[in-house]
């Protein structure tokens, strides 16, 4: 017999399914920022990210009344929905923009500016966007969405070892990319 999955959202989902307005508000407060952040980091496009977050939450509203507790975590299911929507959009982008898409994202502001925190953040965003899709996904799920390795690997449909490899390569590539940007700007000590 399968083990019952402990889900911290179980009670909330149940109340959402019953149409409890307070639970709906609480679910929005708890999940919408996470879904928006996931989509934004996967797509690097605020408008598309909002669309994905909205569509994900709509699917959550439809799912809540028929959610079976104990089989999976609702948060994992939400990530699956949002990731699938992101994959669809990334696939469409590849189909439409194969010839015009740049190999690397715009590195950001002009070289004479120092690496202040906000600027570093923008550089990281750009470097993240330039990573191969699967490496970016692994970092987004594990670092930003704070999912465990087993959960993230399951969402990506890969082994934990493969996830670990993607994470290592992704972080190494990010570090190299940031170091290169800094070197080009002459700020590397």
């Amino acid at each position: 017999m399968a083990t019952r999955v402990v889900d911290p959202d179980e009670d909330l989902v149940s109340r959402v399914g019953q149409g409890d307005p307070a639970a709906i508000q609480a679910m929005v407060a708890r999940k919408l920022p996470r879904m928006l952040a996931l989509a934004q980091r996967m797509l690097n496009d605020p408008s598309e990210a909002e669309d994905v977050a909205q569509e994900t939450m709509l699917k959550a509203w439809r799912q809540a009344p028929r959610w079976t507790p104990g089989k999976a975590r609702f948060d994992t299911w939400l990530h699956r929905v949002a990731l699938n929507l992101c994959y669809d959009r990334l696939r469409r982008r590849r189909e439409v923009l194969t010839d015009t898409m740049p190999d690397r994202a715009d590195p950001g502001p002009s070289p004479d500016q120092g690496l202040q925190t906000a600027e570093l953040g923008a550089r990281v965003d750009a470097a993240l966007a330039a990573l191969p899709e699967r490496q970016r996904e692994a970092i987004v799920l594990c670092h930003y969405q704070e999912l465990g390795n087993i959960e993230a690997a399951a969402l990506m449909d890969i082994s934990v070892e493969a996830l670990e490899s993607l994470l290592s390569r992704g972080r190494r590539a990010l570090r190299a990319s940031l170091a290169e940007t800094a070197r080009n700007e002459g700020v590397l000590k």
Binding site: V16, G17, Q18, G19, D20, P21, I24, Q25, V28, L32, P33, L36, A37, Q40, R41, P46, A49, E50, A53, Q54, M57, L58, W61, R62, A64, P65, T117, A118, L120, G121, A122, V124, D125, L128, I139, C142, H143, Y144, E146, G148, N149, I150, V160, L163, E164, S165, L167, S168, R171, R172, L174, R175, L178
Partner: protein
């Protein structure tokens, strides 16, 4: 856990051991206790990378998006069932306040006049229930 595995984990999951695979956290902590300086050296680059990742801005949910998503709940058929509607109505009608007042009265009575006034309290409670029902009927 040996130094190589510790380094592999740091390179994959970052410097915060809480993000590492659950099955390996205890061994990692033991490794850190046994060789603090060595562990810190291995964690240094991972910590720098964590800081850089954390510098990336967190997307903010706009008021408009939040409102749209809440509105979608109704569009998806999520509407308060009777008991939520009744609870809100009862509260708005003052029945909830009446019940709270009665509860306060009951506590006071129990503290000061335990036995003598119990019958009176029962009567107050009964009255308030009647009042609440009347309110609900009027408003509902």
């Amino acid at each position: 856990m040996n130094a190589q595995r510790f380094q592999d984990l740091a390179e994959a999951y970052g410097a915060d051991v809480r993000r590492w695979p659950e099955a390996e956290r205890d061994a990692a902590r033991a490794f850190m206790e046994a060789d603090t300086h060595g562990a810190e050296r291995l964690l240094f680059e991972a910590r720098q990378m964590d800081l850089a990742l954390d510098a990336a801005p967190r997307p903010m949910v706009s008021h408009a998006l939040r409102e749209q998503v809440i509105a979608l709940a109704a569009a998806a058929g999520l509407k308060p069932r009777a008991r939520f509607a009744f609870r809100r109505l009862a509260w708005a009608s003052g029945a909830g306040w009446a019940a709270a007042s009665v509860a306060g009265v009951l506590v006071g009575l129990n503290l000061s006049q335990p036995a003598v006034t119990r019958a009176e309290a029962d009567a107050v409670l009964y009255q308030s229930q009647l009042l609440a029902l009347d309110d609900t009927e009027v408003l509902g």
